[in-house]
Amino acid sequence: MYLNLIKFKMNTENVKRPDRIVKYKATAAVSTQEDLTSDYLNILGMVFSMLGLMMKLKYCAWLAIYCSCISFANSRSVQFEDSKQVLSSFMLSVSAVVMSYLQNPNPI
């Protein structure tokens, strides 16, 4: 019922202007509310992996892996440096787990 409510005639032919196409410039201002979860979790992951490495706390090492997974899932795939950061936090957390199990192979 509502479709015919908007009865304005769509004279579509002369509406299109192929000559005045404007390329999309990714204006930084577009992303108004910056989504920071990825960065926060990245830092949290670094802290946890440091804890896991230094204090040999196995829980922290495992939590570090989870944090880097979550920051990977939320990462804005467009910026390149984001993916480098996520990769480095992954490597750090995996090394934290490996180190803590090398030193003390008993289960948690």
């Binding site: 999309y24 509310q33 939320n74």
Partner: protein
């Protein structure tokens, strides 16, 4: 990788020492462990021996007392030292000496507590969690992609009718890549090449289905898929006024917009006045433009889609969220654009076809904006507002501009004084000083003179 290797090697060496202590510890424990039982046994035996000794003493007293005593003395010595660490020390030393060779044997037997793979149940829990996370990541990502494509299929035909360019050009394998993927849950589509419009950015902000954490957080607060349509209007296609209508939930976000804050006032009880669905609030600069915008068609669609449509924001001074801190540094006036922004929510259940009417509403509004001209007094009021904001802006930045200028002057003075200070020969110094004094005096003088004239 090099660092990792280094880390690994240090870990191993570290580990050996670790184990070395570990071994001593074990050896001691074992010694003590065997020690204690021995002692117990030893005590057990000793009393028996003693009894025997005593009995033998009594029998053999008469024959060879010396030997018994001899025997007795030895044991007696041990008894004497029974409580002393020394005695254990000797045993441990003996144990260590004796045990030095077979130590490895002991170690191999029980290196650490019996550990089998099923003891690592917490680790398995963690690994299971990881596997669960990644399967959900894959499922969620595909779900988002399918929703984006579904939205695109329903709107493609309409968009292609209206825009020369829809989405990016065909990429390498020249199938038209419509959506630009900002993140796993945000897809944006750029359409351009239409009269009255520079370009239209449609941003699909979907629920982060690919991330378990946001799903669980999403259970607490209301989260829904959102589409934000930003139409950048060309210069002449809109008159100068600012207007926004939004549901209660979106009001908080919109209040932050610089242009709305500077120009608009909140219209009281707007939903009755403009027959809008209840709970909608209106921010408007010129009341006559608001009445023109919220005509019967728009308000009927708003009432039909009151759950979906979150906000409509039309403004010729749009410059995004107010970023006050950036403004101070740049000192330049933020560049403003003529924008029409419509934000609406939808869920998986809503039929995408009836969302098409919202897209048609956007195009209808664009057409309407072109036809709508402000009345004379409306126009005057709008210009007055812009003037006021301009002056306000200059006043704010004026102050910081003055500070910057004062700073520069101060800098210059200090340099001059410094030059004067470290001047070697004295007479040049005096000359410089005199010059500075004269300059200061001259600066002070003119004010007085102008005052006389006034008198």
């Amino acid at each position: 990788t090099l660092i990792l290797l280094l880390l690994a090697t240090t870990a191993f060496t570290f580990e050996d020492d670790e184990f070395a202590d570990f071994e001593d510890f074990e050896v001691e424990t074992e010694n003590e462990v065997n020690e204690i039982p021995q002692k117990k046994i030893a005590e057990g035996e000793k009393p028996i021996i003693k009894e025997q000794a005593t009995t033998t003493d009594s029998d053999t007293d008469s024959f060879n007392n010396d030997d018994d005593e001899g025997i007795v003395e030895d044991e007696f010595d041990q008894d004497e030292f029974e409580g002393f660490a020394g005695e254990i020390e000797d045993d441990r030393n003996e144990g260590k000496k004796k045990g030095a060779e077979p130590k490895l044997k002991i170690v191999n037997k029980v290196p650490y507590s019996k550990v089998l793979w099923y003891n690592y149940y917490i680790e398995m829990l963690f690994l299971g969690g990881l596997v669960l996370y990644f399967t959900n990541y894959a499922v969620g990502k595909n779900k988002n992609i399918s929703i984006a494509n579904a939205w695109l299929q329903t709107h493609k035909q309409f968009l292609e009718e209206n825009f020369a360019l829809v989405g990016d050009e065909a990429n390498a394998n020249n199938d038209p890549a419509y959506f630009m993927k900002d993140s796993d849950s945000i897809y944006s589509l750029w359409c351009s090449g239409r009269t009255l419009v520079e370009g239209m950015l449609v941003e699909l902000k979907l629920i982060k289905r690919q991330d378990l954490l946001s799903i669980t957080l999403g259970l607490l607060k209301k989260v829904s898929d959102q589409v934000q349509i930003k139409v950048e209007l060309s210069k002449d296609s809109m008159d100068t006024f600012v207007f926004a209508v939004c549901s209660k939930s979106a009001a908080r976000v919109l209040k932050d917009m610089t242009d709305l804050k500077q120009y608009c006032i909140n219209v009281a009880k707007a939903d009755e006045k403009y027959s809008l669905p209840s709970g909608f609030c209106v921010l408007s600069e010129i009341s006559e433009s608001t009445a023109a915008m919220l005509d019967s068609k728009v308000s009927s669609i708003l009432s039909k889609y009151s759950q979906n449509i979150e906000s409509i924001h039309i403004s010729d001074q749009y410059s995004g969220l107010n970023n006050m801190q950036e403004q101070d540094q740049t000192l330049a006036k933020p560049e403003t654009k003529k924008m029409l922004i419509l934000t609406y929510n939808f869920s998986e259940k809503t039929d995408l076809n009836d969302l098409k009417t919202i897209m048609q509403l956007v195009i209808y509004l664009v057409e309407k904006l072109k036809r709508y001209k402000l009345s004379r007094e409306g126009k005057m009021k709008a210009d007055k507002n812009r003037q006021r904001v301009e002056e306000e802006y200059l006043k704010n930045t004026h102050q910081s501009r003055m500070e910057a200028a004062a700073l520069k002057k101060e800098e210059k003075r200090k340099q001059e004084k410094e030059k004067m200070m470290n001047e070697e020969n004295v007479d040049k110094q005096i000359k410089l000083e005199k010059k500075m004094k004269r300059k200061d005096a001259k600066k002070a003088m003119p004010k007085m003179k102008s005052m006389n004239i006034h008198l």
